[in-house]
Assembly symmetry: D2
Homo-oligomer: 240 residues x 4
């Protein structure tokens, strides 16, 4: 399984707090976590690379794409967002992290505003497993905690998840659907909430395990080689 | 719409705290709440009445049944539980409240253990609306609070809800799927979490509105007159 | 409830078969069917009208939009498709008919290719009700037939429906998910398969009843006045 | 993965047509099919064996149970049906075949009547894949045919499937949801329609592949060692 971790990679260049936590970039920390969990074909891609990190060839060679973006969603070209969505429908897995909820790619695949309520004060988040037998929860305890995280609150404006795996409890008073699985076309999409850039979330062992689980769950079972199109079927199978 | 509010009605007889809060019984408070919200054919039924309050005739004349039980689930006869489940599949609505999650009726309709984690210390519960356009959330603010409630925690061992309306946040650290809608046979089932007997939950105006909304949402669109059975279809509609 | 029936209205101008069947346009026949079924604020809109029939004002005054399009999906402006999708997420109901499965509006809301297999030879279609208690099936018999229709076959590349109401059987050998309900944002979307322009489908009494049921089911419960946006929540509800 | 194939095994003893087709029993043919598809810990169990083939020990050593029953559902003890359902909720996979739709086990897990319409005349059934990327459809062509099968028609009185994989088209005019996946407790349940005893369905290579896929899909990710129970959680995680 070939995994590409895409990161906006801007906060790390402009904010010393972020670069202090993630000297190799958020993508670097996520990639390390995947490697630690036994995945071995991990590469990274970032917004400021040529073709925004994801050429057609690169995308065609990706089985599961992990996406982290935040402030610069608008800079991702419409063409790239369309190409990623098309590749997901063709069968590529997609794991959308944290502020990626508002990326062009995720919004296009969901068809809804994908908005929510937020507060980035750094408060305790406790994640509860609601479906312990779900592959994304494999090896995860009944709950786990992040000492300081951004809060995301409901209503989260996404379609009803096909599979709900985690709920978050926030110290400041909110609850949230934090792990949401979707089946779209031949592909699978997993949204996982934690990961604000000013906290060391992607160094957390449990978080890394969840992301690795999500990547494995989203692995393609089938990738369509031909573009989707309406197809005329003649003659009929039975006399009409 | 003919609504029957069924209550175990035992705590009120043995625990002065409960009878102090609910001098007319939990069923009485729920019935009053429904009346306040414009429903006008409300009757009540309790465990110690003849036929456990629900004769075949009574059940046949009920469009939506509201169910509150707790300590004495086992005393409800298997025959009654089967009759209620059959009536729900035939089209009657069912609103299951709080500890009713562990009633014979609900477990039979869900097919799962319906267990959860709990703590009855009396802590703040804050309910968040995740689907503001759902009919059960009509007129309900983005969140509302109960100062003192029992905690229910995940995993809640029910089938994935067909429709999820509320999440609860508990002061003590848990989150929970608090408002779950199901479609079963011709009927609709809504599970709504709050309502521990030692707290005045069913006097709360917002709670009353939610229950009335749930009753309206669960109202039958169609009630099957004949028992369900496998039916042989002959001759075929097309030559075989 | 204010209903707007939108139609491409081109086949009727260029193909005498179609204008023979639908002298008042497909939109005219659909509107008549809604009126017959007791809805009374029905207007129509077509592609060649100013602003493609749907000005911002018009859209803001529509509670449920019915959509029929076919050959000229590409002519619908991206801006209009975006505005309709936004309005659906805000709460407007949307009933998408037949070849509207490939409209910009529907594809944008689904996030998937929405492709299928087809054959327009005019063969028997028999629709089976799989959820007889669903409001869209109210008053509809266990099955009903259209003597001559276009065939649509699986896989239909849409997200798993939140609610499945009808299956189609085609004489030529295919089966299809013909009545699919979705909840998106505050709005509801119903896709209903039949309605090829060269057959008199929208004169059929059962079809008309289904469409009227779908319009009623999709009626808004709540319309968001403000655009969706991420909202910062401060201060927290609880001390952090 | 340890698979147990349970069969009523009565038709084979009383009906020479059935024993002619299935000299090793329906369970024998299914077991052979699983072996052909690379599964290697397959055993069988039948109704007339001690403890109806499924002792507590046997059940505890089964990871996925395949179930075929028909005329003698009522002879399966309530205790065994309860034990199987409990084991499924604990994590065991269950693949229910054909007339098993009306078994005590399946009805108990679904909570609905599980009735349908039928006609056992031996007509063409064509199964269509609606979700080609679903693991149960792995390696299965867009459609496949059984020359002679019993017809099952809608409405099939089950809960809305969590995952729908196949639709059937019948020569005689019906359509049916033929491959339905459910998540219940820690377990997964797959219902697969074909398999009337007087036709050689379980000798068909595609059918065998689907059943093997379903067994793999239903394989446990986690089995609960302790019985499900409500659990008191004290002290709270946060001060209340």
């Amino acid at each position: 399984m070939r995994v590409t971790v895409w990161n906006e990679f801007r906060h790390e260049k402009s904010n010393p707090v972020v670069s202090g936590i993630y000297p190799d970039g958020i993508h670097g920390a996520i990639a390390t976590g995947l490697t630690e969990n036994g995945l071995d074909q991990i590469t990274t891609a970032t917004l400021d690379e040529p073709e925004q990190g994801l050429s057609a060839k690169r995308l065609a060679e990706t089985d599961v794409l992990v996406w982290w973006g935040h402030r610069h969603h608008d800079e991702v070209s419409d063409e790239l967002a369309a190409a990623v969505a098309e590749r997901v429908n063709a069968g590529m897995g997609l794991v959308v992290l944290h502020s990626g909820h508002f990326s062009k790619v995720f919004k296009r695949l969901m068809g809804t505003p994908c908005t929510l309520r937020w507060r980035a004060e750094g408060e305790l988040e406790r994640l509860w497993v609601v479906d312990p037998a779900h592959p994304v929860a494999a090896g995860i305890p009944p709950f786990f905690e992040l000492e300081r995280e951004e809060m995301y609150g409901e209503p989260f404006e996404v379609p009803p998840p096909d599979e709900l795996v985690f709920l978050s409890w926030f110290k400041g008073g909110e609850a949230f659907r934090s792990g949401c699985g979707y089946r779209r076309g031949r592909g699978r999409i997993f949204y996982f909430r934690p990961g604000h850039e000013t906290f060391p979330t992607y160094h957390d062992a449990t978080i890394r395990k969840v992301i690795a689980n999500a990547v494995r769950w989203a692995a393609p079972t089938l990738i369509e080689a031909e573009p989707f199109q309406n197809r005329r079927i003649m003659p009929p199978l039975e006399p009409i």
